[in-house]
Amino acid sequence: MEKDKNGKLKIGVYELTGCAGDALLILDCEKELVSIFKAANIQSFLMAKSDNIDGELDIALVEGSVSTEREKEELLDIRKRAKVVVAIGTCACFGGIQAAFLDKKEWEKNFKKVYGDIKMEHTKPVQSKPINVYIKVDHYLPGCPIGKEQFLSTFNRIIRGNPPELYGFSVCVECKWNENDCLLNKDIPCLGPVTRAGCGSICINHNLPCVGCWGPVEDANLTSEFKLLREKGFDYDFIKKKMATFSGTGMADFLGKLEGEKK
């Protein structure tokens, strides 16, 4: 990657539709924030500064899912300008909570219920989707919101041209490190086994079940989790909705297959 005249990489932080939690988490790195701004040329970061430049970029960090035509165009433009695109947060990686309407018709019906028949002047709404539906994504950093430690280590690695090293296992591994009792053994519906690690099993540390907010871990045994919860007496729709809440399109195939089997 090329560096600017001061020897720094040009970086942009962009927010699409979401809660701005990932951008906020970057601002929450109080002690490290000054170092982040020193280590790289943060060319664009709307939440943090007003003198933003939309030029060529080495790295673009993109938060949020695409839910309007305007965002789709903005994303395509970011991809054109950036050498490396990193999806930050569950919304950018998997679509987030707003991508829980897996079916387009269902989404359209709900949109109408909220906004009626009004025609939007500035941009057309589209069903919420993760950014890799529209562009090639180089790296993913999931989390709702992303975790501080994982963000700092990933930032450190990518500005040196290395790929991020994320945990390739589920929350259960972190949960065992923290020596928690398994909540599933207590018949509490926990999504730990199918959810990507990185949060430090924070909910279970607080005696509360994992809600799945970091999205599905690769190679998750979804069928096994589903069967286990069924055996514990939970209702088919309840489990389906629970698994779909944060994973957006990440669960679509699996849930689609389930639907097929049910019929």
């Binding site: 699409l16 906020l24 929450d28 002690k31 943090a48 219920k113 607080h206 909705k241």
Partner: protein, 579 residues
């Protein structure tokens, strides 16, 4: 056509913009747009369990995530008749104070202050105010620490649940927080003085209605069961729709609110205006020292109000912790009810936040969430219009863009709640023709001629009205014919009203402008002598449908005839209306 634009409103949370259209010397339109895409969060919660709802809704906004969780929990506990023990109440207040400190310090030092000391961002500001920026960061970090202790992590922690908390902090952790709060006091006092003494420009000043939670008799605070207005009215939380009256506009995915047809404001400034008298201790002292009439009508003082609230929070924390450490950790309260309706209201850092639910057979069957920024949107537009018009009058057009951003930022909008960009547009020269054509197509307007025929061009409005009559047009009135009791604006059928008048826009003589009537009222320098009393008598719907078709006079000397450029303009208008 001229357009001054800031394409993305920076240093606010989320994606939105503000645009102002200028026709000559008049601001003709202001739009606060929210580009943040639609997320349909309310619909996403349907069919979920109350617990799952409480997991989902804080994701509306990262900055107010605790407030969303708190409001949702209050609403659900209300619906499911869950009563929580005192320690839970105390711990919830503590977590909420953490969010207030975090959000207010982030807004004041990172987002707002750089404008007042002339830097593009807080990092650049640190070059000159290194110590202040560092301590401010630590103060914000302290707020984060409380939030993390209470909820499990900085953002979207899941520890607060319906019926209590998954886990309580140890006595040692609580005492550490108390001592740290006491240590911060000197800097907190400095912060309050700094933001109360900032030089706030007076351009966006006008009266409004302020609304906030009433935390109980004689108490200051951030949660309650009723809404209190600056008019003295009280609204029960279940009747919140009487306040909010939400509606959709086509330039924003965030809904809008008006109270009795009027825009209103929520946030720290609303709380300080409505409840400030109740502040005690050092915060009470600072309130008495700094509060004045300008706080009642200038949204920029929201910054001062937030600083005052940081002080309030720091004084409150040791008291809560003293109570908490005496109480045992209660288990989560279990409930059996599967049905019910409930509303929960809290003050998010940026204002009144309402969650309302219905639970049927154990699942959410109705959800309504009203966010503070959605309620502020109408007032944000109104104050931007006022500020832009005043600057235009004083010939400081180049300042409009920055001033509007200052106003928007002062409201501390949390655009994710729904919602980047300040934009100033110039209307095209012949814009009045298109507008008039549109009004006439949408409904048949009543024309009202206004002016004085003895004073040359000032008689233009009357002259035009009489000419229209000669051409056989109906519904033409003269100023002198209007009976106050049966005035056309009292009619509820809301046909458009078009006042015909000579209006001094400081333009070249004969220039025709068509503007909504409230753009004339919002500025005394332009108001000519246009029936001033009607501004009080018109409601918002009526105002929206009333316009002034103004012609720039050349002279208004007594006894002279109408000047040539004005006469030519009248002929142009006449032709358009008649045809």
């Amino acid at each position: 056509m001229k357009k001054i634009s800031v394409d993305h409103l920076a240093r606010v949370e989320g994606s939105g913009g503000i645009s102002v259209t200028i026709d000559g010397k008049v601001v003709t339109d202001v739009k606060f747009s929210i580009f943040e895409g639609p997320r349909l969060v309310e619909r996403l919660t349907l069919g979920k369990t109350p617990e799952e709802d409480v997991n989902i809704v804080p994701r509306i906004c990262a900055i107010c995530s605790i407030s969303h969780k708190y409001a949702a929990i209050r609403a659900m506990e209300n619906a499911l008749s869950v009563k929580v023990p005192s320690k839970v109440v105390q711990f919830r207040e503590l977590m909420h104070l953490g969010e207030m400190i975090e959000s207010h310090s982030l807004h004041l030092y990172y987002l707002a202050l750089p404008d007042y000391v002339g830097f593009p961002n807080a990092i650049a500001m640190a070059s000159e105010y290194e110590l202040e920026v560092k301590i401010a960061l630590e103060m914000k970090g302290f707020g984060n620490h409380i939030m993390k202790t209470a909820s499990g992590r900085y953002i979207h922690g899941e520890n607060p649940v319906i019926g209590g908390f998954g886990k309580f902090p140890s006595k040692e952790e609580l005492i550490w927080i108390k001592n740290r709060a006491i240590q911060f006091m000197p800097f907190v006092l400095k912060t309050t003085e700094l933001f109360c003494e900032l030089d706030y420009p007076d351009s966006p000043e006008d009266d409004t209605i302020y609304a906030c939670c009433n935390p109980g008799q004689k108490k200051y605070g951030f949660a309650g069961d009723e809404i209190i207005l600056s008019t003295g009215e009280i609204i029960e939380k279940e009747d919140y729709k009487n306040l909010t009256n939400e509606f959709v506009v086509s330039h924003s995915y965030a809904k809008r609110s008006r109270y009795k047809g009027e825009p209103y404001s929520v946030g720290a400034l609303a709380r300080v205006n409505n409840l400030g008298e109740r502040l005690k201790g050092k915060a009470g002292g600072m309130f008495k020292k700094y509060f004045n009439n300008r706080w009642k009508k200038n949204p920029l003082f929201n910054n001062a109000a937030q600083a005052l609230e940081i002080l309030y929070a720091f004084e409150r924390i040791p008291k809560i912790i003293d109570k908490m450490i005496k109480l045992p950790d209660p288990p989560i309260v279990k409930y059996t009810k599967k049905e019910g309706k409930g509303t929960g209201i809290v003050e998010a850092p940026r204002g009144l936040l309402i969650h309302s639910y219905e639970v049927s057979d154990g699942f959410v069957s109705f959800t309504d969430i009203v966010t503070p920024t959605a309620q502020n949107a109408e007032d944000i537009e109104r104050y931007c219009c006022i500020a832009a018009q005043k600057l235009l009058n004083s010939g400081e057009e180049d300042k409009i863009r920055d001033r509007m951003e200052l106003v928007v930022r002062a409201f501390d909008p949390c655009i994710s709640c729904s919602a980047h960009m300040a934009e100033v547009k110039k209307a095209p020269e012949e814009d009045w023709k298109t507008k008039l054509d549109k009004i006439m197509k949408e409904g048949s307007p009543i024309f009202i001629g206004v002016g004085n025929r003895n004073r040359s061009d000032d008689g233009a409005g009357i002259e035009l009205a009489l000419e229209l009559r000669k051409h056989g047009m109906k519904d033409i009135l003269l100023e002198s014919e209007i009976n106050e009791r049966e005035a056309p604006w009292k009619n509820r059928n809301y046909r458009p009203l078009i006042f015909l008048d000579a209006v001094d826009f400081r333009e070249k003589p004969g220039k025709v402008t068509l503007v909504p009537i409230h753009y004339i009222f919002s500025n005394s320098a332009l108001s000519h002598r246009l029936l001033p009393f009607i501004s009080d008598e018109m409601n918002y719907e009526r105002l929206k449908n009333s316009f002034v078709l103004g012609v720039q006079p050349k002279s208004i000397t007594e006894g002279k005839k109408i000047s040539r450029p004005v006469r030519q303009a009248l002929i142009r208008v006449l032709e358009l209306i008649v045809n």
